[in-house]
Point group: C2
Chain length 147, copies 2
DNA sequence: TTCCTTGCAAAGTATTTGCAAGATT
DNA sequence: AATCTTGCAAATACTTTGCAAGGAA
């Protein structure tokens, strides 16, 4: 079952409706590998429907998040914008350079371990973990040594 | 050297000045174990100086963060407010219940490992890692099973 | 005396919401 | 036909900023 099929089903099950706007947003989410925020998604969605509103993008993302179809990501150190990605098996996290703002994605089995640890030790059920790391990227690190 | 002494020194070294307002905020940061956001800090600071402004609290926190004296924390799933804590040896992270909003702090050596892994594999220098986990706390988990 | 810091109010950024019109089932 | 969704504009929440007055070094 593709992401769009899963989404359609979930929306329907929640008593919602499939609209042209939602279709566009789902398509963009499925085909983009980058992490998108509402504004960028809106910008891209307008290529297909120049009347689609930013509010609709926000509402659709919230709907999808509530249905567990997309998860939120924030980038350090700002944490000001919400990025979304479809829920997949391998979760991606992000390192942001404080100096040049470059974002480096990373994967780590440690996060899986952390979830298990929390479920065991705190007796909670984990839905989502957000990890944002910041510091200096290799290049900025090197140039800061020279100074 | 206490947190306040370190802070005074760092502020001075950066060409800044120690003011009554900053003194109050530093004191609150040092003596509170909870995580405070600007508004809560402002509320508490007003007990000692009823004229202190929210803008000053924000500016002071930014100054302290730039100096590496406090670090930011965000709570999932909202990520809307910035909380601060003095930089200490043992870093604390947070789990938030999606249902009852309860926040449970936790510690984990896995985060230290993650930092080391990133420094080794990505060749970056890590300044800060933010981890916010959300899901269901033990109580809400139990009651959701009953439904 | 220099210039950093403050309070105030206004502005800024990201996101949400009320409402009437429009679309889906 | 019923009601969910949309676009628009206004509202909200958190944080930053311009400016003139005040305060630290």
């Amino acid at each position: 079952m593709t992401f769009q099929e899963k989404a359609s089903q979930a929306i329907r099950e929640a008593g919602g409706r499939m609209t042209a706007q939602r279709q566009i947003i789902l398509e963009l989410l499925e085909t983009s590998d980058e992490h998108l925020d509402a504004e960028e998604l809106h910008r891209r969605a307008r290529v297909q429907d120049s009347d689609i509103s930013l509010a609709t993008v926000y509402r659709t993302l919230n709907t999808l998040q509530e249905a567990g179809l997309v998860q939120q990501r924030y980038h350090s150190p700002e944490h000001s914008r919400k990025y979304v990605e479809p829920v997949h098996a391998d979760e991606e996290y992000h390192f942001t350079c404080r100096n040049c703002r470059r974002v480096m994605p990373f994967h780590s089995e440690l996060m899986q371990q952390l979830k298990q640890q929390l479920e065991a030790e705190l007796n909670v059920q984990v839905f989502n973990a957000c990890v944002c790391v910041d510091g200096l990227c290799p290049e900025c690190r090197a140039s800061s040594h020279k100074e």
